[in-house]
Symmetry: C2
Subunit: 227 residues, 2 copies
C-alpha cells in the first residue's frame, strides 16, 4: 500500500486492543470490519464440528486481515481470527474498503496482486503437504525464517511457540519435535527456541528439490548462493 493509502487508513479507523486468545472475529460472524495489525501476532484458523482445528496463517504487524473475505461475495466470516498474544490492530469498517476499491482502481489492482499471491502460496503449500515429509516441512519453514533474519550465523529465536508452528504446518506437536531433531543432520539446528543453520546449501537441497517453485523462491535463492 502507498503512503497515501496509509494516511487515509489512519484517518478512517481506530486502533483496537485484543488480549491473548481474544477472537477478532469467529466463523459465522457478519463481516463488519477490516483489520491491519500494528503489534502482536494473529492466528487465522478454521474449525470443524469435531473440534479439529487447522491454522491457516500466522499474521504479523503490517499485515491485513480479511481483505479477501470482504471482497468475496459472502457476508459472513468463513474462518476465525484469534490474538496469539496481546495485539494492537487498526480496525476499519468493511464499507471503507469497498468504497476505496471503487474509488481507487490502483488499490483494487494491489489487492488483486496480493490475493493472487496468497492463492498461489496456498497451492504451493498443498503441494508441500503432498510431497514432503514432516521433517522437510519443518526445514522449509525454518529456512524461510532464517532468510528473513539475513542468514545470521548466530541464529535467532523462534517468533512463535512450537505448538503454533506445528499447527500451521498441519502436523502434530510431537511430530514437529521429532522432525526438529532429525533435520539436525541436514544442517538445521533447533535447540529449544534457538535456531541456527550450519549448512544452508545442504538444507536447501534437502528441502527444495521437493518444491515446484524452488527456482522462483527467494528464500531458496538466498540459501543457495550463500554456499
Amino acid at each position: 500500500m502507498s503512503a497515501q493509502d496509509t494516511k487515509n487508513l489512519l484517518q478512517a479507523g481506530h486502533p483496537h486492543h485484543f488480549a491473548k486468545n481474544d477472537l477478532l472475529f469467529a466463523h459465522g460472524d457478519p463481516i463488519t470490519h477490516f483489520y491491519v495489525i500494528i503489534q502482536g501476532v494473529v492466528k487465522l484458523f478454521r474449525e470443524n464440528q469435531n473440534g479439529q482445528e487447522k491454522t491457516i496463517d500466522i499474521l504479523n504487524p503490517g499485515q491485513s486481515i480479511c481483505a479477501n473475505e470482504i471482497l468475496d461475495s459472502c457476508s459472513c466470516h468463513w474462518m476465525n481470527a484469534a490474538a496469539v498474544g496481546d495485539v494492537l490492530a487498526m480496525r476499519l469498517p468493511a464499507s471503507w474498503l469497498k468504497e476505496a476499491i471503487e474509488n481507487y482502481p490502483i488499490l483494487a489492482r494491489n489487492l488483486l496482486n496480493m490475493i493472487s499471491e496468497k492463492e498461489n502460496l496456498a497451492e504451493v503449500e498443498a503441494e508441500h503437504q503432498a510431497n514432503m515429509s514432516s521433517a522437510q516441512l519443518v526445514a522449509c519453514f525454518t529456512q524461510r525464517l532464517c532468510v528473513g533474519h539475513g542468514l545470521n550465523p548466530e541464529g535467532f529465536e523462534l517468533p512463535y511457540s512450537k505448538t503454533l508452528i506445528a499447527s500451521r504446518l498441519g502436523i502434530e506437536l510431537e511430530t514437529f519435535s521429532r522432525a526438529a531433531s532429525k533435520i539436525r543432520e541436514h544442517g538445521i539446528n533447533i535447540q529449544g527456541a534457538h535456531v541456527s543453520i550450519n549448512k544452508p546449501d545442504a538444507a536447501a537441497q534437502y528441502v527444495c528439490d521437493f518444491c515446484s517453485i524452488a527456482s522462483e523462491c527467494t528464500a531458496h535463492q538466498e540459501l543457495s548462493k550463500s554456499n
Copy 2:
C-alpha cells in the same frame, strides 16, 4: 462475466485446438496468453525436481485459465496446464486482460471475487487434507459431483478417469480404489465409472462433520435436505 464481456472476448481472441496431453503452457514459460475453455478438460499441475506431480485443479468448459497468474506480478507461469483429452480453448493475449481491467473496474471487481473464492477453496482443501481420511476425501468429491447432477437417483458417470481424480485429491490410485469400496457402507456406490448415492444424508454426515464450512456448502445443504 457479463454478456458484454463475452462479446469483447470473442472479438479479441481466437479459438485454438490442443490434442490430448498437449501443454497449453509449462512452468517457466513467459505468460503471453489467457485462456477460456470452450470444449474438453484441462489439468493444472505443478511438478518438482523429483518428478512428483501434484494436480492443482481440473478445469471444464467455461472456466478461464491463468487469470491469477496474469494478475500476479510475475512474468512467467508457476505451473503447467495440459489438455486431458482434446481441447478447444479461446486464446487471448495477456495484455488484453490487463487493459480490460484498467478500463472496466467492474471486471476487476469480478476477478477479485473469483480469485478470493479460489483462495478460500484452496484453504478448505488444505483443511480437508489435514482432517479427513482418504475415503472421506473421495466421498466429498463424489457428493459434489452428484449434486451437480441434481441428485439424480439413477446416478451418473464419472467425468474424469479415476487416475486423474486420485491425483486431484492428492492420493494414490490404489488408495482411491480402496476408498471407493469403503464408502459403499456410507451410501455412496461407485461401480466402475458409474456412481449413485443411496443415502445422501448419511453420506453428508460421514463427510461434512469434518469440514469447517459445511454450513455454507451448497452441496452439503442439498444433500441434507434431500433426506
